[in-house]
Amino acid sequence: MTAYVRDTALLTARSLRALPRVPERLLDVTVQPIIFIVLFLYVFGAAIHVPGISYEDYMIPGIIGQSLAFGIIGAGVATSNDMNEGVIDRFRSMPISRLSVISAQVMGQFCEQILGMVIVVGLGLALGWTPHLTLVHGFELAGLIALGMFAFTWAGVLFGMIVRSPDAMQGVGFIIVFPLSFMAGTFVPISKMDAVPRAIAHWDPISALVASVRNLTQGTHATGSWQLTHPELAMAFWCLLVVAVCVPLALRRFNRKLAM
């Protein structure tokens, strides 16, 4: 067990040490959310009116929820890159726990997601977002965000091992996660959408993330479906479901990932 902790720490340190030498790998958690915030706040925001709430207060919680979901793409692309490196083969042929190799992958990605979240929250606050958090809600929010990052990082690690290349992962992310993250009441209210996207949004897991963050920070109450009226419960449920499905599959996949 101590060997597992030690090996995981060593391997996590390896990923983090490499990061400053390939800063382009961090674009998805740094530049991308900044562009989204600025675009929506100053380009689209001026034309969007959400009754009873300033657009900063409406949109920043949305971006936080969306960033959690984008963790799948980020972790997936990074894992797909890493698994193609020969060094993984060396780790696998060494007398170290294979679980520590994949744990370190998750830890490294988790740290990147935290960096991204700090940037989003920091920029949001600087541009006029005013969360109204009680201490209890603050802990609840931090706990849910950490759980969300954990779950979506594992999902990304799993997909990153399944897809054939980082480009394929980008593609899958763009086709599935991207639209779902826009339909989730992230930037505009679900109630004003057309019938079909509205029906999707009511049960889109990302809607639960967005509604939870908005609920806890601004005290708004979404309606339309069970998961929107109970967003925190729904978010915890979705995240735990993702963990329950993705963790065992990712471990199995890693042990079997036996490229020629």
């Binding site: 390896r14 490499a18 020969g86 083969d89 042929s93 170290i96 036996l258 020629m260």
Partner: protein
């Protein structure tokens, strides 16, 4: 459990690996005595890497069994990993760390403390003459430099069995010489080595025993000398300067010798059991006539000849492409 032979570093019987409907390794038997160097020799796609990956516990065999230092590669995989060191075909290093950082990391993962890990790393860097580039990021190193660090990473703890998968593929001749001399030193220290290669001269230069692999099967095995004798004695090759000369040479030489010809290379081969004496006779005959000759040379059979004799095609991938 089967009884194990203590002196065998590798004992593989009936090993099979399939990828879909393609059988990459087909009922392979392989025995490697401790302290010897065995080379798996075969063209690209012969199944060498698949064999090595099964022995290194990276691939699960679909049939048969394999033991490394007495441990089963499936049921005792963790023990196998503790006695084996694999250096693969592609540099197994973190491209974004420096050479030194890579070695320290591998040493720490082998259970060494930071200080010990640094000391071992420094020793390896000196042993592999890598001081010059030890603190550069691996991505920026040349192929030969990378391969040396790769080899060093495999030797942090002296393994009972060292497996090198195509250690010089893609290297320039000078780097190849450096890698070869490193391998020779290791062998002199008594390391058991399994080496795969598609270069006949490499197997010839390094191995005690060569196993020729084709389509995932062993097609021949023996010392390099034994394999060469399977294709017969040495010969003299006379290469004509042009096609007209080739015709007259063939006429001239076939009167006195038992010749075989390779018209596309304008080469006439003559068996030369008496070596120098035969060479002298051929030279004298050629000197007495006025035919343009490019080259006259005494050829000893190479492993390449053995490969052609056994499979009906050359081993070197370049030659296969030319023939296709």
């Amino acid at each position: 459990m089967q009884p194990m032979n203590e002196s065998l570093a590798i004992e593989a019987t009936g090993l099979i690996k399939r990828f879909g409907s393609f059988t990459a390794v087909d009922s392979l038997n392989l025995y490697v005595e401790q302290g010897t160097v065995v080379s798996l020799l075969g063209p690209n796609g012969a199944g060498k890497t698949t064999i090595v990956r099964m022995l290194a516990t990276l691939l699960r065999p679909d049939g048969g069994s394999a033991r490394v230092a007495g441990y089963d590669v499936v049921s005792e995989a963790a023990r196998v990993r503790s006695v084996i060191s694999l250096t693969g075909q592609f540099a197994a290093l973190d491209p974004h760390l420096t050479a030194r950082e890579n070695l320290v990391l591998m040493a720490q993962l082998r259970g060494l403390h930071r200080r010990e890990a640094r000391a071992v790393t420094q020793q390896l860097i000196e042993r592999f003459d890598a001081n010059e580039f030890a603190d550069r990021i691996v991505k920026t190193l040349s192929g030969g430099e990378r391969r040396r660090i790769d080899l060093a990473a495999g030797l942090i703890v002296t393994p009972q069995l060292l497996v090198l998968d195509e250690p010089t593929t893609g290297l320039d001749p000078r780097s190849r010489q450096v890698v070869w001399s490193t391998i020779r030193e290791l062998v002199a220290d008594g390391v058991t080595l399994l080496l795969t290669t598609q270069y006949l001269e490499e197997a010839d230069a390094l191995a005690d025993r060569v196993v020729l692999i084709d389509h995932g099967r062993e097609i021949a095995a023996g010392t390099p000398a034994e394999l060469k004798t399977t294709v017969g004695a040495q010969r003299i090759d006379v290469v004509a300067a042009d096609n007209a000369a080739f015709g007259s040479l063939e006429l001239l030489l076939s009167e006195r010798f038992e010749v075989s010809t390779v018209p596309e290379r304008r080469t006439i081969s003559i068996p030369a059991p008496d070596e120098a004496a035969d060479l002298t006779r051929v030279s004298e005959l050629l000197a007495g006539c006025d035919v343009a000759v490019d080259e006259v040379a005494l050829r000893r059979p190479t492993l390449d000849d053995a490969f052609i004799a056994l499979t009906g095609r050359p081993a070197e991938p370049e030659l296969i492409e030319e023939a296709a």
